[in-house]
């Protein structure tokens, strides 16, 4: 359940973090509610990992407040290990203990930190190894496992301390594509089964869209937008968010008449939902899948184009078009089955429509 009722389990207020002169996090505020699945995503170097590492204080922050699992996180806090024992963490490069067996990796926290009896911890460990589907690897050492199996161990290790909260720092980035998809589904299943609140960091947009009930898009240490995946995809708050999640076509234009943006020799009509469009330099954006083919519909912006090439991507085909009067190519995507019929030859002229309702308008980014 993702209801925003009750107190947040993580509350970050006005967080600042510096590495020397460099400010890695700028005034970050974020609430995570019990049972929530929040994904923090952004490009590399955006500060997304730093943010979740501040939550269990693997990193020190310099300003703002963090509360996690009922404790205020700060430099002088007593018994930080109790807070950390309440927060499971999975690292991008696994960080398994190479000198310990898989079972010992799982019992390390409970036995050596919390004083759980060895036998009990081993029983719990077996349970979690079954849950991550590698019970047969219990007595092996990490180096004997594949990347996917190692990450399963890391996941089980994080869950074996029965955390109130799970932090996943790019857990799937070091794993090959096929295994990644399967693990992604399994992590979702585990989240559902244990009802554990999760904060995950990723730079992979697909991962963000599939695994989150809320996404926080972070760029240059600043949160650009927080919202449900659908909301962020459909109504990106900035050109950066629009570009980062999904594919987007961008044209720079000038808004001379309210509701219309002039790009080169073409006028693009926008809808009320497109965004602020009342003068000045703007960037308009539309998704490749929203391009309509040969429909003379009234609500759209007709574009006469020359087809410049196509990329077959399996289920969809991506077609590169150059619009007359705009002077820039853009991308249209359509299901490959449909593309087989409509596909223009290279150099052929086609007319497509960019619906006004799907057009987004952003203030022009400073170059």
């Amino acid at each position: 359940m993702t209801g925003n009722d009750g107190a947040p389990i993580i509350s970050v207020r006005g967080l600042n973090k510096f590495y020397g002169e460099f400010q890695a996090l700028k005034n970050i505020s974020l609430d995570v509610f019990p049972g929530g699945r929040v994904v923090v995503c952004g490009p590399s170097g955006s500060g997304k990992s730093t943010l979740i590492r501040c939550i269990n204080r693997l990193e020190a922050h310099q300003g703002g407040e963090i509360t996690a699992a009922g404790r205020r996180v700060h430099a002088q806090m007593k018994n930080i290990h109790l807070l950390r024992a309440d927060i499971g963490m999975v690292f991008q490069n696994f960080n398994l203990f190479p000198h310990l067996t898989v079972t010992q990796n799982l019992t390390a926290g409970p036995v050596w930190a919390l004083g759980t009896p060895e036998a009990e911890a081993q029983k719990t460990a077996r349970l979690y190894l079954e849950r991550v589907k590698i019970p047969e690897q219990a007595e092996k050492y990490p180096a004997q496992l594949s990347g996917g199996q190692q990450q399963r161990v890391a996941l089980a290790r994080a869950l074996a301390i029965s955390p109130a909260l799970l932090l996943l720092d790019e857990p799937l980035s070091a794993i090959d594509a096929k295994v990644r998809q399967r693990l992604r589904r399994e992590i979702k299943q585990l989240q559902r089964d244990f009802g554990v609140t999760t904060v995950m960091v990723t730079h992979d947009q697909e991962e963000a869209l599939t695994m989150a009930d809320r996404i926080a898009v972070i760029n240059c240490g600043r949160i650009e937008q927080i919202g449900a995946p659908r909301e962020i995809y459909d109504r990106p708050a900035s050109a950066f968010v629009a570009d980062f999640l999904g594919t987007m076509n961008f044209f720079d234009g000038v808004c001379a008449v309210p509701g219309t943006v002039r790009v080169g020799d073409c006028d693009f009509r926008c809808s009320d939902e497109s965004g602020v469009c009342d003068g000045g330099e703007v960037t308009i954006a539309f998704r490749p899948e929203h391009i309509e083919w040969n429909s003379g519909g009234g609500g759209g912006n007709r574009l006469c184009c020359v087809a410049e090439g196509a990329e077959f991507l399996g289920a969809v085909t991506r077609i590169v078009l150059r619009a007359d009067g705009v002077g820039k190519t853009f991308i249209a995507e359509l299901p490959s089955a449909l593309a087989a019929e409509l596909m223009p030859a290279e150099g052929e002229r086609v007319t497509v429509t960019a619906p006004a309702a799907e057009l987004r308008v952003f203030p022009r980014l400073a170059q």
Binding site: N56, L58, H81, L82, R84, A85, I87, G88, M89, F91, N93, N95, L96, F97, P98, H99, A108, G109, W112, A113, L114, Y141, A143, R157, A158, I161
Partner: protein
Amino acid sequence: MHADTVVSDPLIQKPRIAAAVLTAAFAAFFFLNFADTSFGRMLAETTGGGDSFARAGAALALALLFVGNLVLISFFPVRIQIIAVWLELAALFAAFFLVFDLNAMFIQSKLWFLISRGLTTTLYVSAAAISIAFVIAVAGAIAKLSGNGFAVAIASFYTSFFRGLPLLMQVYLIYLGLPQLGFVVGAVPAGIAALSLCYGAYMTEIFRAGIESIPKGQWEASRAVGLRFGAIMRRIILPQAAPVVIPPTGNQFIAMLKDSSLVSVIGVWELMFLSRTLGTKTFQHMEMLITVAVIYWILTMALEVVQARIEGHYRARR
């Protein structure tokens, strides 16, 4: 080093290389001048040539023997090559020792005492010192990495002092200096103290490097499951540092075994002390020195085997 998969003939089997080595060997042997050895004199007599003829002849014969030996050995598999060269070198050394015309009876009469008294003393002084040095090194390494001003200062002053002074001087300082402060220490405890303090200083650096070699992710992962400093050190960091630390620590132990001879100066009855005293009465210094040298050597070889076993044990787990 990682061997390539391409195999080439041994260099020495190539005629030009063999010829070059032969020339170099001839030049070296000619320069060393074996004309005055029994072999050279025999050559001079049988051929009737002069001194310079004997010198060149002896050099040529030895050079041919040397290169012939190399070529011959190069045809065998690597294991046999190693054994053959070891045996040849050992034979040369044995021949060198035989030159002294040692009295075997005398060695035999003293050998048991050398082993029962000298060797055991050397061993237990070294073992005690390395154990204490080990504890000092762990504490010193943690202190150096701690970020606590006092700890860092004390540890770095300690390593600087004990690495900066000759061990012999430390032995004297402890044995002769401590009584000045009112602490009278026996020769054996003083020797053990000097050795463990000195080697503790070297091993502090080894352990520091070993601890630092463990990636930061291991610390983070241990903290993330709730471990505290003591548990992280004992359960996660030190066990992983062990394989890194053991080879150089083994070297230190072997070095210490021989440096323990320095405590002979304060009258500890270990190998070196006995080797000097036992031969004095009858002026048979060489017998005792060479016997003790061989004992040290055998001891070191045994330790090398032990060290290789331990390293192998850790390598198997990777």
